[in-house]
Subunit: 346 residues, 2 copies
């Protein structure tokens, strides 16, 4: 009757999910989430079922919770929370995806996701690059760093690069990529451990602890000749400080503004933006999805650097249930993660 | 003894000057200026003397009064106020400049200026394009509009362009240039007369009176499909409003921020800058001086459009003495001028 692979094992299996219950005001607390359970069903023709093993936790998620027009529609009240994730195909009625395939895609915060394959990548985890690395360095995170730095930042060899959120998923890759290109790299991060990690382990030239230092002053010392590329993940006062140190022709790549995402009042804008005029500099936003056609080439290059030991991927993997998602997400906004934050479904 | 041309007529002629007496806090009032008198002297070899006939009044002047590092050093206390100007050569000891030549250059706010020719242009006023036009459409003002719109704004035919300060010297040229390229052009200006002028005389598609209208709402009507190029002369709330209406891939050219130049408290930054990310847009500052090598070609093109009647230059010429400079400058910051503000030395 049906040539669905794998389904008999799955029938009537419970699928625990996290849904958006209410839009947050400020940090998204437990009241924001609903925990629901559905039953896994047989995939229709051209579809397959993925058992989610790893959920990616990303700052952009906070934006998806707001009911405002943006590059993607907001997550609707009652909908399964949107999330990039990795998993295994456990039932397939799709010619290109077989049971056992390891895949990444926007599967959401749930144990099982059905897909038609749109936006789904098959990945091949190895000892050096496990599944979480395919959500991190070799996934959207790495692509974000790569295209933000090389395309939007238009990096030239030997320039001075400053990156905020430098111990975060994207920032830690940005700095390493700039080092590969022979740049002077300064990372801005929160706390001595993160600062030590990016310098000692990742090879950044200098780190600024924004919790302990006056970033504007510290940049004078760490980037005495000014900044050619500022890669911004945080916004707020740190962006404003970086603007004061731009060199002639500098590029500011706007990747995110995590410092402002949970603000309950409209956050102020970068008061020093006229530095763009004085220094004939540009500030440009980007979204990694726009580069999807160039992902394969970039991922190949990144994988090569990873094999050669020139890039390191660090994942901050938390083991738990999908129901832990809300708590783990808060770690991200509190700056508690180092490297890519991933929820591994136990 | 000397082959200086023209000097005998000039010896012991008084040169009235305006010098910076004190740095302003807010609008530069009369206490900011000193009026001094020197005697015109014989130009040394390789130098010449210009009798200034027209002084250009530009928003950038306000920045030159502040003691901050910028693209140009501040005007020093006691120095003749820096200004672009036009005049006639009245004495020359320079092989390339003859008595009677009409020239433009950074001659300062004074009746006579000595020059070695650096940055000085010979111009050829006609009935259609008199001396003030060579400070306006065919001078730095026109060049600013041309390179800001075409190079920084990377204008493509048929796009939607919004320009602030639209009845000002630069803004009025920007809009006309965009119309020549078949764009939809919306100008933002202060007051019904200016709004009527840019639509009825200059051919803008729409005008928004920022003094009477909610700019953000008005942009929704005037640029219903969003903004491809926003050319900003004013900064502040108008920039912030424009950011909310950017299209995918929009360019914001930062030419100035006149609304903030006389602020006594640090003006807030553009809170909506994250629209750059959502719309993969860029905001870029520029200085016209960087394009100096391309001026001749651009000026030729502009002069052609002027002759063909496709461009109109409007100069708001005030007749007076150099000592009137301070009062005339305030007209600029009060938004009282339409087109290029010029002080003609009576």
């Amino acid at each position: 009757m049906s040539d669905v692979q794998g389904l008999p094992d799955l029938k009537n299996v419970a699928n625990h999910q996290v849904r958006l219950a209410a839009r947050p005001n400020g940090l998204p607390g437990p009241e924001v989430w609903d925990h629901t359970t559905e039953t896994v069903t047989e995939p229709a023709e051209g579809r397959f079922v993925v058992q989610v093993t790893h959920v990616s936790l990303d700052p952009a998620m906070r934006g998806w919770l707001n009911d405002v027009k943006s590059y993607a529609p907001p997550v609707g009240i009652g909908e399964v929370m949107r999330a990039l994730a990795a998993g295994r195909v456990v039932a397939s009625n799709h010619p290109d995806f077989a049971v056992g395939d390891v895949v990444t895609g926007t599967f959401g915060v749930q144990e099982y996701a059905e897909s038609d394959g749109a936006g789904v990548q098959k990945v091949h985890p190895t000892d050096e690059a496990g599944v979480p690395t395919h959500l991190a360095l070799l996934g959207m995170t790495g692509m974000t760093a790569y295209f933000g730095l090389f395309d939007v930042g238009a990096l030239r060899d030997g320039e001075t690069v400053v990156v905020s959120g430098a111990a975060g998923a994207v920032g830690s890759v940005v700095g390493q990529l700039a080092k590969i290109k022979g740049c002077r790299v300064v990372g801005i991060a929160g706390g001595p451990e993160k600062c030590a990690w990016i310098v000692d382990e990742l090879g950044f030239d200098a780190a600024i602890d924004y919790r302990a230092e006056d970033v504007r002053k510290a940049l004078r010392t760490a980037a005495p000749d000014g900044i050619d590329v500022y890669f911004d993940n945080v916004g707020g006062e740190i962006l404003d400080a970086a603007l004061t140190r731009l060199r002639h022709g500098a590029r500011v790549a706007i990747c995110g503004a995590i410092s402002t995402y949970n603000a309950t009042e409209p956050p102020p804008g970068p008061a020093n933006y006229m530095s763009l005029l004085v220094n004939r500099a540009r500030m440009e936003g980007f979204l990694v999805f726009d580069y999807v056609e160039k992902f394969p080439q970039a991922a190949k290059e990144m994988a090569g650097w990873l094999r050669e030991g020139r890039l390191h991927s660090r994942e901050d993997v938390v083991s738990g249930q999908v129901s832990d998602f809300g708590d783990v997400l808060l770690r991200l906004f509190r700056g508690e993660n180092t490297g890519k934050l991933v929820l591994q479904i136990a």
